[in-house]
Every structure is written in structure tokens, then in C-alpha cells.
Amino acid sequence: MTKKIIRSKSPNTFTELPDDWIIICRCEEITKGEIRRAVYEGMSTPNEIKRYLRAGMGLCQGQTCSHLIRFIVARELGIPALEVPAPTSRAPARPVEMGVLANDGLKLQAVVN
């Protein structure tokens, strides 16, 4: 079951950090500062960060950055990283061409139908 999160506007203003411009999501070139700001603006889970910024949504499917994002979200929310859910895993596990998918082993059956 999804963990309960209470979300209301932060009483503080957003503070920038000197290392905010370090790239976290290498594929989509999303920086630590952009992720921190998204958390400040209410994105509270890696899935929401992903949908809002495309961080972790690139060609590599978040294999490099997803755990980095979890740590950043945890630190910004002041909760243990354990409590930040991992982003959803989705097929295909590796990029696959549309033409290859279209010719999958069930194609013949599909044509008959």
C-alpha cells in the first residue's frame, strides 16, 4: 500500500545549493537543483519526479539515476531513503525497435485472427 504523505505548501523559500547544477539524470540531463526544486514544489516520489522532469525516463530507463534521485528526494523531505518508493519498473527492460516488437512470435496468430 502507498505510504501516506501530507503535502502542503512549504513555509520556507527555496534555497539553492552550490552543487545544484550537477547532472543527476545523465540521459535527460536533469540536475540536482531541478530535482530539489521539484520536491520543493510538491513532487514527493521518484515517479512524480519522473513524470514532472523526465528524470529517470530516458533511454537507460533510470538505471543509473533512480537511486540517486531517491536519496535526493529523501534528503529534501527529511525522511529516510528507505521510505521513498523506488520508481516503477517497466518493460521492455532494454530498448527494442518497434519493428522487432511488431514481428514478435505471436504475429502469425495475430494475422490469422
Binding site: R26, C27, E29, L59, P95
Partner: protein, 121 residues
């Protein structure tokens, strides 16, 4: 298959980067020597080794420039996961060069964003 030996014509870079005699593994099994094109230049490598390995042996480090910040990228994970090393191979963009085998006459090009030329400039 023949064992890797770098011909006299190989670049100095190639002599430095290719391991000639490994204390444990000795010689590396390689396919036949082939030529390929990198941004129009003719380079040498071995058939079936990953494109990225052949480029590395020739001292090529930059595989692409990113879409947003136009920053250089090269080999990072070398096992097909991170997708940092993608290039345009025989006209097709986003090819993971670290797991795509080299073939004779392949045309490898630096990738800019998702395209050949830097369309932003």
C-alpha cells in the same frame, strides 16, 4: 579467429591502448582486422569487437554531444545499460556502441542530440 596483433601501420595510440601481453590472460582472441569510418576518417579495428572498444583503441573518447547542454559523452558502463555511448551507426542514431559488434566498412558518426549534425547551432 586470430590473436590480436597490431600491425606496423597501427597508430601509436593503438599500440598504447591495446594490451599486447597480459600476465594472466596472455593474448586476446580477436576477429579479423577490419577498417571502418569514424566521422569520415578510416580507422582500424577487429571484427566483432564492440565498436566502442575499437574507438577506444584508436583514442576516440567523445561519442556524442548531448541534446540539452551539448556536453560530450563517451563510454560509461560499457555493458549496454547506461546508453551514454550511443552514436550514429550506418545512419541509425542511438546505437549502443559498447555492445554493437564492429563490421568491415561500418560508418560510425558522432551524434549530436539525436541527430547527425548539430541542429541547434
Amino acid at each position: 579467429m586470430c590473436s590480436a596483433s597490431v600491425s606496423d601501420s597501427a597508430s601509436d595510440e593503438e599500440n598504447i591502448m591495446r594490451i599486447q601481453n597480459h600476465p594472466i590472460l596472455k593474448q586476446f582472441e580477436k576477429g579479423k582486422a577490419v577498417s571502418f569510418y569514424f566521422d569520415g576518417r578510416i580507422l582500424e579495428g577487429f571484427e566483432d569487437e564492440p565498436i566502442a572498444v575499437a574507438l577506444k583503441a584508436n583514442g576516440v573518447m567523445v561519442h556524442r554531444y548531448t541534446s540539452r547542454d551539448r556536453k560530450p559523452r563517451g563510454i560509461f558502463c560499457a555493458i549496454g545499460r547506461c546508453t551514454d555511448c550511443v552514436m550514429i551507426v550506418d545512419g541509425k542514431p542511438n546505437v549502443r556502441t559498447c555492445i554493437t559488434p564492429l563490421r568491415e566498412g561500418m560508418k560510425i558518426e558522432t551524434q549530436y542530440g539525436v541527430s547527425k549534425e548539430d541542429q541547434v547551432k
